[in-house]
Symmetry: C2
Subunit: 272 residues, 2 copies
C-alpha cells in the first residue's frame, strides 16, 4: 500500500486506529478453545467487528511464533482474512545482516503478504535496506519505544549532545523516505512527541502505548499529527479483551468505535 492510499483510508474512515492482534490462548473466551483453530476463530471475529473503525491491523508475531508451526498457519489465515484495503503490520522487530534481512523480507513480504514490518535499528543500514527494496512495502523502524527499557540506550546522549533515537531518525532518512519508512514512537507525553516530530516531520509514526499502556490520544494528536495525519495509533488488549464472554466481538466493536470517534474529532481539529 502506498502513502496516499493509506491517507485516503484514514480520511474515509475518520480513523487512524491500528488494532494490535496480540492474540493469546490464555485470554480468549474459553468457548473458542474447542474450535479447530481458536486463534484464527478469535481474530476473525475481532476483524469482523472492528474493520469499519480500523485502518491497520498489527499481529504481534511473537504470539504466533510461541505456538510453533500451527501458530504460523493461524497467522497466515488471519492475514488472508484482513480486508485488502486495510494496512497490515508484522510486528516482528527483525534486524540482521544484509543477506539474512533479505530472507526476513522475503518471509514477511512474499511468503506472507504484509504491507509492513517493524525493524530494530541496532545493526544499521544493511539490516534495514533489504526491506526497502519492495515496492509499496514499508519498514517501521524502532526509534523511541514506550517500555521501561527504552531508557537504557535509546535516550543515551551522544557526544553531539543528541539522544540515540535522534541519530536513528536522522541516519535512517538517508536509507528510506516517508513513502516507505515509518517510525515506532512510543512517546505519549506531548513535549516528547513534539521533539521526535522535529526530526521526522513527514513520516508516519506508529504509536503503541495508548490504551492499556496509558498515554493520552489527545496529546499524541496535538503534538504528533502532520498534514497527512502521520499517525497510526495502536490499541491491542483494550479492544481484544474488552469482554471475556461470548459477546467479545460486540465489546471489541464498541471499544474500537469509541476510539474511532475520538480520532475523528482529533483529525478535524489537527489535520484539516
Amino acid at each position: 500500500m502506498d502513502k496516499q492510499t493509506l491517507y485516503n483510508n484514514i480520511k474515509q474512515k475518520s480513523s487512524f486506529l491500528c488494532v494490535g492482534l496480540d492474540t493469546d490462548l490464555e485470554k480468549i473466551p474459553s468457548h473458542l478453545l474447542k474450535e479447530k483453530d481458536p486463534i484464527f476463530a478469535f481474530n476473525k471475529q475481532i476483524i469482523d467487528n472492528t474493520a469499519d473503525y480500523a485502518v491497520a491491523y498489527k499481529p504481534n508475531i511473537a504470539f504466533y511464533e510461541a505456538l510453533g508451526p500451527s501458530g504460523w498457519e493461524s497467522l497466515q489465515k488471519t492475514l488472508d482474512y484482513i480486508p485488502k484495503d486495510i494496512f497490515t503490520i508484522a510486528d516482528a522487530k527483525r534486524g540482521d545482516i544484509g543477506n539474512t534481512s533479505k530472507l526476513y523480507a522475503k518471509a514477511f513480504f512474499e511468503v506472507m503478504n504484509f504491507d509492513s514490518i517493524t525493524v530494530a535499528p541496532y545493526m544499521g543500514e544493511d539490516s534495514v535496506s533489504p526491506f526497502l527494496e519492495f515496492e509499496d512495502k514499508w519498514v517501521i523502524l524502532l526509534a523511541l519505544t514506550s517500555n521501561a527499557g527504552s531508557h537504557d540506550f535509546q535516550v543515551l546522549n551522544s557526544e553531539q549532545n543528541k539522544p540515540l533515537f535522534a541519530h536513528v531518525l536522522e541516519k535512517s532518512q538517508q536509507w528510506g523516505t516517508d513513502q516507505n519508512m515509518m517510525y515506532v514512537v512510543g512517546a505519549t507525553r506531548g513535549e516528547k512527541i513534539a521533539e521526535v516530530r522535529k526530526y521526522a516531520p513527514d513520516h508516519f509514526f506508529l504509536v503503541p502505548g495508548v490504551g492499556a499502556q496509558g498515554g493520552s490520544l489527545e496529546e499524541v494528536a496535538k503534538y504528533g499529527m502532520n498534514s497527512t495525519c502521520g499517525l497510526l495509533v495502536n490499541s491491542s488488549r483494550g479492544i481484544l479483551y474488552a469482554s471475556s464472554g461470548d459477546d467479545f466481538g460486540n465489546a471489541a466493536s464498541k471499544e474500537a468505535q469509541k476510539l474511532q470517534q475520538e480520532m475523528a474529532s482529533l483529525l478535524e481539529q489537527y489535520c484539516s
Copy 2:
C-alpha cells in the same frame, strides 16, 4: 547447558567451533531437492559429518522462517537431531517489550528446546531479562556486529566518550552474568577484540565473521580468549557449501576438522 559443561566440551573436543546452519534451498546439492524435507536431509548430513569437531550449532532462524510453516518443521527436526551434548543457538536476534519477549523465550526455550538465543539490545532491560529467567539457558546479546551497518550506531560515541556497544556491555552486566549471558562480538581485528574484552573479561563471545566473512582466527584467539576459552567462533558457508556435489558431507567434515585442528593449537597456546 551450564558454563562448566560448555567449557568441558571445548576441552574434550579441543574445539570452540560453532557451525552455522544457514541452510539455503538454492545452495544445497540439487539431488537433495527430491527429498521430502530437503532442508532437514541436508542438515542431518552436515551434523553427522561435523559433530566430532563442533561444540555448537547455530541455525539462522531467518532461513527457516522464509519457508513458511514447513521451515519451522525442518528447524524442529534439526534441533531434535543435534546431539544433546552440543550447545544450540537460535540465531533469531529477537527483542521486544517484556510480555512479548516472554513469548519469544517460550517459543525458543520451551516449544523448541534451544540452549540460547541471540537478542538485540535496543529496547533495553525488559526486552532481555525474560530470556534470563530460564535455568541453564542463555542470552547472546548483540554488542558489536561485523556487518557494514555496525558503524551506524554501535560505535557512536556517547557524551561519556564511550561507544554505544560499550554501554551495552556494561549495562547488560547488571541484568545477567557470565553464566547466562554471552555477547555477539564481530571484531576480528586484534586491537578491537582486545578493547571489547576489557568490558567483559569473563563472558563468552560468539564471533561470526571468521571464514567467508574474513577475519583471522589467530587474532581472535590471541586477543579474545580467556581462562575458560570464552569464545565460540562460527563458520557457516565455508563448511556447509564446501562442495556442491554428492560429497558435500565429506567436504564439510574436512573443513570442520581443519578449523578444529587450528583451534586445538590455539587453545593450547592461549588457554592452558
